[in-house]
Symmetry: C2
Subunit: 497 residues, 2 copies
């Protein structure tokens, strides 16, 4: 509250409401008026005196300093900005906003049943541990370490923690010249797309797959082609001949949750070597509830450096922090650093240092264990609620993870369900956007459970089930095929339940 009072006064001076030399209200009057303790006001005034904003005059109270200047210049006579004069639709060279992508309501956390993916549950956030690390990163010595412009560098302490503590868990051993920190896994994909894909290259992506990745690669080339997925993961035999770069989510396929089998992994690596295909392994959910099977990454089985590995640090902790990383061949990482320098120089080093401390103190490991426990419990509740309330819908979870992939009956339109459910307080993610085809099947949707409290799941799924049955009864004849690809059908049947 003291802070609020200070902000208020500083803003009032900056905006010219409180002029220099103006007396402030008495602490008693302002305290009454704001319904706070008088002491709060006095402390705020005194702090502002220390900061040279106010001055205290004996027996007269507090005044705005004579030197304080309103910052708002005279607005009279300024030119009113307008868009007239530039035809932006003719001048823009890229329209990323026109791409199909996942859309979540900004205010998702105010919905009672937010079954959305990849969001933050404040109840799991290890606030005290994180605070400890941030506080330490604010010591005078640490500030000297992170405040400078690193140009194309990273916090060496974080690189060390990644190499010795995070990567070995995934079977990956990397030198300092093979690792770069990124602003979330998203930036890692963008940088790899920029470096590895030219406009004539053909890029294979899983279908269905991660929409942001598809959009990133489409910024580089029109030749983005589908690779179908079955219950062992991406189908090696179905990779188009022309494909020179292939993006995979082996540990947990996005969005179905399928794990790439050992046999499929071997054939993918062999095929890539034969055809000289570069592989990008997006291990986006590696930390969430996977078994400790360190052998399960492609990179761990790739002696050639052909696999570039992408991981996330902040996804499990707080997506707003935006920290991820790339592991790749030294030649590639050198260019990635040069490109990142032009894009933004480097991810903020204060966050890099706090995260390094968080890892070094073992807080990260403990937080992951906690996440696994919570998500395992939620997955059980989800399974039983879906079995009870969503008859006729096939659900798959895969191993670990924080989402279910649901397939509705033929002719079912999940976009209509999502719109109706939203009005009833239930958020779900329609699945059409995950498919490459412009005429995608409409009967799939995703249910995330990282952000919804466990005790709300049952009621949310029950409500969703009622809405789905109502929607189904009023459903029109389908205009589009309900699902595309026999392989996908088979996959869904094999893993669903």
């Amino acid at each position: 509250m003291q802070t609020r009072v200070r902000e208020m006064i500083v803003a009032a001076i900056a905006e010219g409401w409180l002029r220099p030399e103006t007396p402030l209200p008495s602490s008693r009057a302002l305290a009454d008026c704001l319904c706070v303790a008088r002491n709060t006001i006095l402390l705020a005034y005194q702090q502002l005196v220390d900061e040279g904003v106010l001055e205290s005059r004996a027996r007269s109270g507090y005044f705005v300093c004579p030197q304080a200047k309103p910052m708002r210049p005279d607005m009279a006579g300024r030119d009113e900005p307008s868009g007239a004069g530039v035809d932006w639709s003719a001048r823009l060279r890229a329209y990323p906003s026109r791409q199909r992508n996942i859309a979540k309501p900004r205010e998702w956390s105010s919905y009672p049943y937010p079954f959305i993916y990849g969001q933050f549950d404040p109840a799991i956030f290890p606030a005290n541990d994180w605070r400890e690390c941030v506080r330490q990163a604010l010591s005078v010595l640490e500030i000297r370490g992170w405040a400078a412009d690193m140009i194309d560098g990273d916090d060496v302490y974080l690189i060390e923690q990644l190499r010795t503590r995070v990567l070995p868990r995934r079977g990956i051993w990397a030198g300092p010249d093979e690792v770069m920190v990124t602003l979330g896994a998203q930036q890692a994909l963008y940088i790899l797309a920029h470096l590895l894909v030219g406009r004539d290259d053909v890029v294979g992506i899983e279908d269905p797959g991660y929409p942001d990745a598809r959009n990133i690669f489409r910024l580089r080339t029109p030749h983005v082609v589908p690779v179908p997925v079955d219950d062992e993961g991406a189908i090696a035999d179905r990779i188009p001949d022309a494909c020179s770069v292939l993006l995979l989510t082996p540990a947990r396929h996005c969005p179905t949750g399928v794990t790439l089998s050992a046999a499929r992994r071997a054939s993918l690596l062999q095929l890539a070597a034969e055809r000289d295909i570069l592989l990008i392994e997006d291990d986006y959910e590696s930390n969430f509830g996977l078994s400790s099977d360190a052998a399960s990454t492609l990179r761990a089985h790739d002696p050639s450096g052909r696999v570039s590995y992408v991981g996330s640090l902040s996804k499990t902790l707080a997506p707003g922090l935006r920290l991820g990383f790339i592991v790749g061949a030294p030649d590639l990482i050198r260019e990635a650093r040069a490109l990142r320098r032009l894009m933004m120089r480097h991810p903020p080093t204060n966050n890099q240092r706090a995260m390094a401390l968080f890892l070094a103190l073992g807080h990260f490991d403990r937080h992951l264990r906690r996440c696994v426990d919570v998500l395992t419990e939620r997955a059980l509740v989800m399974r039983s609620a879906l079995a009870e309330h969503m008859d006729g819908f096939e659900c798959r979870f895969g191993t670990g993870g924080s989402s279910a992939w649901v397939r509705g009956p033929e002719g079912f339109d999940s976009r209509r369900l999502a719109a109706g459910a939203r009005d009833a307080g239930v958020l779900i993610e329609p699945g059409d956007v995950f498919f490459l085809d412009d005429q995608p099947p409409l009967n799939f949707f995703r249910l995330g459970f990282s952000a919804i409290p466990t005790h709300r799941i049952e009621a949310g799924i029950e409500l969703l089930g009622r809405l789905a049955r109502a929607a189904e009864q009023s459903s029109p004849v389908p205009e589009r095929p309900a699902s595309s690809g026999a392989a996908l059908d088979a996959a869904h049947r094999a893993v669903s339940g």
Copy 2:
């Protein structure tokens, strides 16, 4: 120290040196061995017990928890990664590391005389004020505000502070849909280049000019053309006809420090309107020591929205924080948000929130005033030291700012001086890299004074003067023209001193 002990123990467990159920050394023994107080060890042990890493057994001391798992998997049998198999030189589609750019030694702060630009002086950093804001951003309520994935959004509080507190000082009034936060001004330039420049577009840049900007635009088009600069700034009459996008640093030209004159500004805006040229205004140093002449931005005088404005928040505070912003037409900002989503989603929201508080509490304004005082003093010391010790070298400072642009005699090679000076503990930045031409003049260099303590300036310049005279005497006949462009010559003479 307590933290160090905890890190050590956690690391030893993770790496398998301390196995589950192993007893820890007695607190006395470990304290002796590490030369710390016994209490430090006891506190560290107790905290690790609280965290479930150790357990305390009555009368037996501390043990590693039975559940603690070494994280390092068996290294035997892993494939040794090697680059063999991929010919990266044939596979990369971009080589940003081959661009000419400014190179600063990573360990610049260990040099006694670092005359480098844009770096951080820990003596000016307002550590207490910044800590206060970071601490507040870590309250439970604030964490809920910033921890989530914002997708393409920003902290609304920071946008508000920019609109009401930062931009009006530069004569700019913008709606919430005209402002986007970026990861430093660098990302703002990258995003604008991506959206406004296709491979057939011709981009005009100041020559000399900011090398990173040149490199960013060259990622998009081969047609980057020079616009010469005189003592009134970029010369409107010399803008090539084909130019469709023009990048300018009006407030303080990089690297010469020249401010765009009012007459020149008017003719540039008129020309841009006539030829439909899009302008990018890089106000990178707007906060540093400029007069409060709010009228001096191009954007303030542009009713058409043709000028996109780029600013930095972190440059004056701590470059490592990486916070900047774009102001532009709503149609442009919408696409910028969609592109930023694909690049990295959004700048970390914890830093956005801390910066918003820093602005709201008036700390930023106070910090700027302090910077101006310090830099003004340093500029005076620089001027007098340069006049005394660098006879025959012309120096220009421009208004405000934190660097001098120095021109050596004909035939002088600043790269040789820089190499020799570095060995003597003096860092300077050779000027050739600022010129567009592949055969740039070699007799210019830049002296930054944001990172060097004031009391070291005199001695550093004296030393540099001695080295320069020695270098001049042993200088070979020049192989290249000493400077290019008559306008530049005139400019230098007009403003130097």
